[in-house]
């Protein structure tokens, strides 16, 4: 197995807040290869967005990496000086954010923003950069690229802005595109277009994608692999196929059941009682225990590690037992 392009080892991130030191990420490890399509799923407070920011060096001032290493092209980036680190990251990665309007400079024409990287980092001439920008605009499905080259971000709709953001991210020919909830703020029909674009880029150009979202259905449509995040750690890791059909962790199970299915209506939605834990306090035992239907006494004593189980990985003491969970499911039904 060749060296993964990006390798995250035991990453931990702390954030200083008014209410104390927040342990936003508590030991996350995973590898990303070019051509991978990984979905990181979690609810608010799970740490999914911070994970991306930590990898790309975009942490806010009050946050810092407290443990762990990040390797890019096999090199430990903490050992590099800022310039080399930036060069290494920008050569291999691109990122798009939730709010495209915030990611675009409102006073620079969009075409110029796309040609920035070719012109100033890759050293191409003005004409070459413009040509690259135009072809990128076509690549992301923007018709009429010549005339739209000179538009400003506010003159475009949300969906188009997000496409421009993707074009900018692609302008450095990255191998991996990091996406932080890029479609959450978009209408569902526009979201479908953007997802289709990302899928095409994957199949046609071999672009790797790391997609952070709270929407399981989107992960199902776009990604091959999934990481489920809860309270700053991965609690389940596996292929989308396996995880959606046979989730191994109770949280994943609950989340899949709680998400309403557009294809059928049920009498009552499955709920997860309680709230996510406050990560300014130390975590004792499994953080999901208070809300878990599969809880045993062991769960409050120590925190389970992410270990391989039945072709996936799960951080849970209580082994896969789909018959038990099917029984739980019909108990819920009887309560309706």
């Amino acid at each position: 197995m060749s060296t993964p392009l990006i390798s995250v080892e035991n990453l931990s991130v702390e954030i200083k807040t008014d209410r104390g030191l927040l342990k936003a990420i508590r030991g996350v490890s995973f590898d990303i290869n070019a051509g991978d399509s990984i979905g990181i799923v979690g609810e608010s407070g799970s740490g999914k967005s911070i994970t991306l920011k930590a990898i790309l060096g975009l942490l806010p001032n009050n946050a810092h990496v407290s443990a762990g290493k990040i390797f890019v092209e096999g090199k430990d980036i903490s050992t590099l000086d800022p310039k080399s680190r930036r060069a290494l990251l920008s050569k291999n990665t691109g990122m798009i954010f939730q709010d495209a309007i915030a990611a675009l400079n409102p006073v620079i024409k969009i075409g110029e923003q796309i040609s920035e990287v070719p012109r100033y980092r890759l050293g191409k001439s003005k004409d070459e950069s413009k040509a690259i920008a135009l072809s990128l605009m076509e690549k992301v499905g923007i018709t009429d690229s010549e005339s739209r080259y000179s538009l400003y971000p506010h003159q475009l709709s949300g969906g188009l802005r997000q496409r421009i953001a993707i074009a900018i991210a692609l302008s450095g020919s990255p191998k991996i595109l990091f996406c932080d909830e890029p479609t959450t703020a978009l209408d569902v029909t526009i979201q479908a277009q953007v997802l289709r674009l990302l899928n095409e880029l994957r199949t046609n150009s071999g672009l790797g994608i790391v997609f952070v979202t709270h929407d399981l259905a989107v992960v199902n449509e776009l990604c091959d692999d999934i990481r489920v995040m809860y309270a700053g750690r991965f609690v389940e890791s596996g292929t989308v196929q396996k995880t959606f059909n046979e989730p191994t962790h109770p949280y994943t199970f609950s989340l899949l059941k709680a998400a309403p299915d557009p294809d059928q209506s049920v009498h009552r939605l499955f709920t997860i009682s309680g709230e996510a834990p406050n990560l300014t306090q130390p975590v004792v035992g499994c953080p999901f225990a208070p809300r878990c239907f599969s809880v045993t006494s062991q769960c409050s004593e120590s925190e389970p590690e992410l270990l391989p189980i039945a072709q996936s990985k799960s951080a849970c003491f209580n082994s896969v037992d789909h018959t038990k969970w099917a029984a739980e499911d019909s108990k819920e039904g009887a309560r309706r």
């Binding site: 609810e43 259905a217 989340l255 709680a258 299915d261 049920v266």
Partner: protein
């Protein structure tokens, strides 16, 4: 056929862009944004009508116009068969209530839960003075909030709990109709489910009539008996939920339903035709959807279709129906 509790007949709501003095002196025509442009809809007693559509379709505006926050530019609204005037009576106001989207801005940060509830109850004298506290506790228990919530401020609650407070506030007025404007859109999935369940329980236990506005198709499907699809200020399809989902008849509804990402395995990112939501200005002649419609014919450029019968009570506004 059960009686219509609230209905809108050809309701139009324009927002007029403020004109500067110079424009007015030049007698320039005022720029109107027709947020809803001729909507006829009714809600029957005890039913939940789901209202879906994307940004700019006018669903929130319709909800707010029905509840009385906006005055209609044209058209009429009837409550229990009686036409509602420019200014609503206190009774009329009380009978239609709304729960809002944003758990943060929908509660007065400087009032406790108890103060909000008591104010509503006392103003309408819904309950004798010595029973007010009891009623407040009853409301708390109906929405599933802890007993000691009355003296707490909104900031001490989570997003899901705040939405419950908002529901309690609306229920305190004992309305006949509840309009839920994107009430779960700002909540996490696990919290969404419990609030949706609550609304379904209320519908069953209190016989509430509900208008459920949301852009989340999956949630709407769970909650609604009937569903109406809006596009650029018009209703393009309406009918019983299962019929509309199983047999979408308007091209926009088909587009919408096929764009929703699925939970079942197998990626099916649809062949969604390209095209952005048009600006309202440009879509004023003929069918509003024709710019994005995969099956548009020549007639669509000149004729603006009304709702036509598909089957039973299922209607769609398309020339090809």
């Amino acid at each position: 056929m059960s009686q219509s509790v609230i209905s809108a007949e050809n309701v139009v709501k324009h927002f007029t862009k403020k004109q500067s003095i110079v424009d007015r002196l030049r007698k320039k025509e005022a720029f109107n944004v027709p947020a809803i442009d001729g909507v006829t809809i009714d809600l029957r007693a005890g039913e939940t009508l789901g209202l879906v559509g994307e940004s700019g379709c006018g669903k929130s505006t319709l909800g707010r116009t029905l509840v009385g926050l906006y005055k209609t530019t044209a058209g009429t609204i009837e409550l229990n068969g009686k036409v509602v005037g420019e200014e609503r009576t206190l009774e009329e106001r009380r009978s239609v209530q709304m729960v809002f989207q944003d758990p943060f801005s929908s509660l007065n940060p400087r009032m406790t839960v108890g103060q909000v509830l008591r104010e509503a109850i006392n103003f309408h004298k819904l309950v004798p003075a010595d029973k007010v506290e009891e009623r407040c506790q009853e409301l708390l228990s109906i929405v599933g909030l802890p007993k000691d919530s009355l003296n707490s401020f909104p900031r001490q609650f989570s997003g899901g709990q705040r939405q419950r407070i908002g529901i309690a506030r609306a229920l305190a007025l004992e309305p006949k109709i509840l309009i839920a404007d994107e009430v779960v859109s700002a909540l996490d999935v696990s919290v969404q489910a419990s609030v949706v369940n609550l609304l379904m329980d209320l519908k069953r236990d209190l016989g509430l009539t509900m208008l459920f506005i949301s852009h989340n198709i999956a949630v709407v499907r769970q909650v609604s008996d009937r569903i109406a699809v809006m596009y650029l200020g018009r209703i393009v399809e309406v009918g019983p939920t299962e019929q509309v989902f199983n047999n979408p008849s308007h091209p926009y509804t088909k587009l919408l339903l096929s764009s929703v990402p699925k939970m079942t395995s197998g990626s099916q990112i649809s062949s969604a035709p390209s095209g952005e939501l048009q600006s309202i200005k440009s879509a004023m002649v003929g069918c509003r959807f024709r710019g994005r419609c995969p099956v548009a014919i020549d007639a669509c450029a000149t004729l603006d279709p009304d709702l036509k019968l598909v089957e039973g009570t299922h209607q769609a506004a398309c020339l090809l129906v």
